[in-house]
């Protein structure tokens, strides 16, 4: 009995199904491997993140906010102290100036000094108008004086002259 030869169509049909099956299998394996890798990567990332969070938390504890605030306070106090020292008001030089440059025959009965305006206002008495003029010129000739002027001169019964003077310091 002659053998029945299988047709080519059957042969290719069987081969086609096999390739598809293998391809699917390969894809499945690839997908599984990829998923596995992704899973492992995700786990790795999560562990790294935990470590980073821990370091961050430790650093925050080490920072001691109260200590930082204390350091900040001291730093700003030093800055302000320097600023205040630089503009510290000394009025002793005004008294020294007056004691040094008041003429022997002139006297002052009232004194008003404003450090903010650097202005000294005095009420004085001199033996004559000439002496007032000499006194004002003496004040004007000092290097620390920006301007000196007089006003309200008046002769008293006793013969002396009263006056007001304003001295502006530099």
């Amino acid at each position: 009995m002659p053998k029945k030869v299988s047709s080519g169509m059957e042969y290719y049909k069987n081969e086609g199904l096999g390739a598809l099956l293998r391809l699917s299998l390969i894809l499945f394996i690839l997908a599984s491997v990829l998923t596995g890798l992704l899973f492992a990567y995700k786990g790795l990332l999560a562990r790294q993140l935990d470590q980073q969070r821990q370091i961050l938390s430790d650093l925050q504890v080490q920072f001691e906010p109260s200590l930082v605030a204390q350091l900040e306070h001291v730093a700003s106090t030093i800055t302000n102290a320097k600023m205040l020292l630089n503009k510290h008001l000394f009025i002793t030089p005004v008294f020294n100036f007056l004691e040094k440059h008041t003429l022997p025959d002139v006297s002052f009965s009232s004194f008003n000094y404003s450090a903010d305006k650097k202005t000294l206002t005095l009420n004085g008495e001199a033996p004559s108008y000439t002496e007032i003029s000499a006194q004002i010129k003496t004040f004007q000739n000092q290097q620390e004086v920006a301007a000196a002027s007089f006003a309200n001169t008046a002769l008293r019964d006793a013969g002396s002259v009263v006056f007001n003077t304003i001295i502006n310091f530099k």
Partner: protein
């Protein structure tokens, strides 16, 4: 099916990790600065820190100023006729446009007060000297006096001291 959501989760984790890494880098820089600041602070003698706190105390301390003024005047035989503290002025700062900004806690505040004392001229000069050399700053901004018989004068002073909260 499971890869896509997992990838999304990974993306979120990566983003979060990057943020934390950036913060850590910044914190490391700040940590170095803090260490530098701490070393400087530790190099300052404790006695100097105490003097600094006395120089610019944390409170207005008008009670302490009152005691100081009495002690200064008593020691010089000066009569402290009266002392009045006006409202404490808070720290202000001038902005570039000339307006005054709200108080900054890092700036100092001023305690304004007026004194009237009765003293000889020499004693008053000594009092001014004490004020000018006092550790807690005493800035005399205005002085007024008139001559009187007997060598005793009445001096009126406007004074400022400072503190930092």
């Amino acid at each position: 099916m499971t890869a896509r959501p997992m990838w999304d989760e990974i993306s979120v984790l990566r983003a979060e990790s990057k943020v934390i890494a950036d913060n850590l880098a910044q914190l490391k820089e700040v940590e170095a600065l803090r260490d530098q600041l701490l070393n400087t602070y530790n190099s300052i003698p404790k006695s100097d820190i105490a003097r600094l706190e006395e120089f610019l105390p944390a409170k207005a301390g008008t009670e302490d100023l009152l005691v100081s003024m009495e002690n200064f005047t008593k020691a010089l035989g000066i009569q402290l006729k009266n002392i009045n503290f006006s409202a404490v002025s808070s720290a202000v700062q001038t902005l570039p446009d000339g307006t005054l900004a709200p108080a900054d806690p890092k700036l100092y505040s001023t305690v304004n007060y007026n004194l009237t004392v009765s003293a000889s001229y020499e004693a008053f000069r000594a009092l001014i000297d004490v004020f000018e050399k006092n550790l807690r700053l005493v800035d005399v901004s205005d002085v007024t006096f008139t001559s009187a018989d007997g060598g005793t004068y009445g001096f009126a002073l406007k004074v400022k001291s400072y503190y930092q909260k």
